[in-house]
Symmetry: C2
């Protein structure tokens, strides 16, 4: 996380727990049932860990936290689950952090993040991609996917 300041009291607790976590997992199950995709045990477990976290998790954080009783997973288990979760839009990879977050925005969309270099928070948002897509089209590109990551300081960290 490489925090530069230490005032992360209450402003970054995004993790889901208890009932809310259960509901989110249930919703994911339902969305899978709609397609012919399956939310298998390792996929569900990795999604659970992401949803419960307060900040982006690295792949090896997931590997370490995977086992209920402390036994880590093998790397391919987690990487394969992440690949699945990304494919279905349940999670996003943040390239500039080598880390992963659960998707917090409903509906098919292009991911974009505001990342606080101080507290490590990564807030998903939906900027207007029109100027970018227009420019890309003008250059002859057929865009399939856009990665947008804005780094800086969040409101909480600016004040201190």
């Amino acid at each position: 996380m490489t925090s530069a300041c230490h005032h992360h009291d209450e402003h970054d607790h995004h993790g889901l727990h208890g009932v809310a976590l259960g509901r989110a997992l249930e919703a994911a199950e339902l969305r899978c049932a709609g397609t012919q995709e399956r939310l298998t045990a390792p996929r569900r477990r990795v999604l659970e860990l992401l949803l419960a976290a307060d900040a982006p998790l690295k792949a090896y954080d997931l590997i370490a936290a995977y086992g209920e009783a402390g036994e880590p997973a093998k790397p391919p288990t987690v990487y394969r689950a992440l690949e699945f979760l990304e494919r279905l839009g349940f999670a996003h990879r943040i390239e500039s952090l080598n880390a992963y977050v659960p998707c917090r925005i409903e509906g098919g969309h292009m991911a974009a993040f505001l990342i606080c270099d101080c507290c490590g928070e990564a807030a998903e948002f939906e900027p207007d991609f029109a100027p970018t897509l227009t420019a890309a089209q003008a250059a002859g590109y057929a865009v399939r996917q856009v990665t947008l990551e804005a780094r800086g300081l969040c409101a909480g960290c600016r004040e201190h």
Copy 2:
């Protein structure tokens, strides 16, 4: 590069050579002289390799190509040079490729790339960041840096 097609005849030769390469390096020297920064031998060598390349280079491509007579560099040599080149705006890292390109646009700017998943070309462009920055401000963020990478197919690769 993981190319999906094989028609990369003549449409991605961006590499600088001979006189043009010399001029670009000279320009970099001049820009360094203006500040109190120094374009030392390893930094110059890495910049030269980036400028001469036709596509983004991985750090270990640079490490392998570093020595005039085939001897590779040690990793820290190249990573330190890249850090310098990025800091001065001579090069950019492309997060989604773990690769580096020389800066092709004059003037201080935020980097953005159109990346062809077929031929590997990475075209630097300057989209309008205003919507993104406005949204970030609305969320209370003070943005320091923006990474924007659009992946898809370039004009040449779409036709084939």
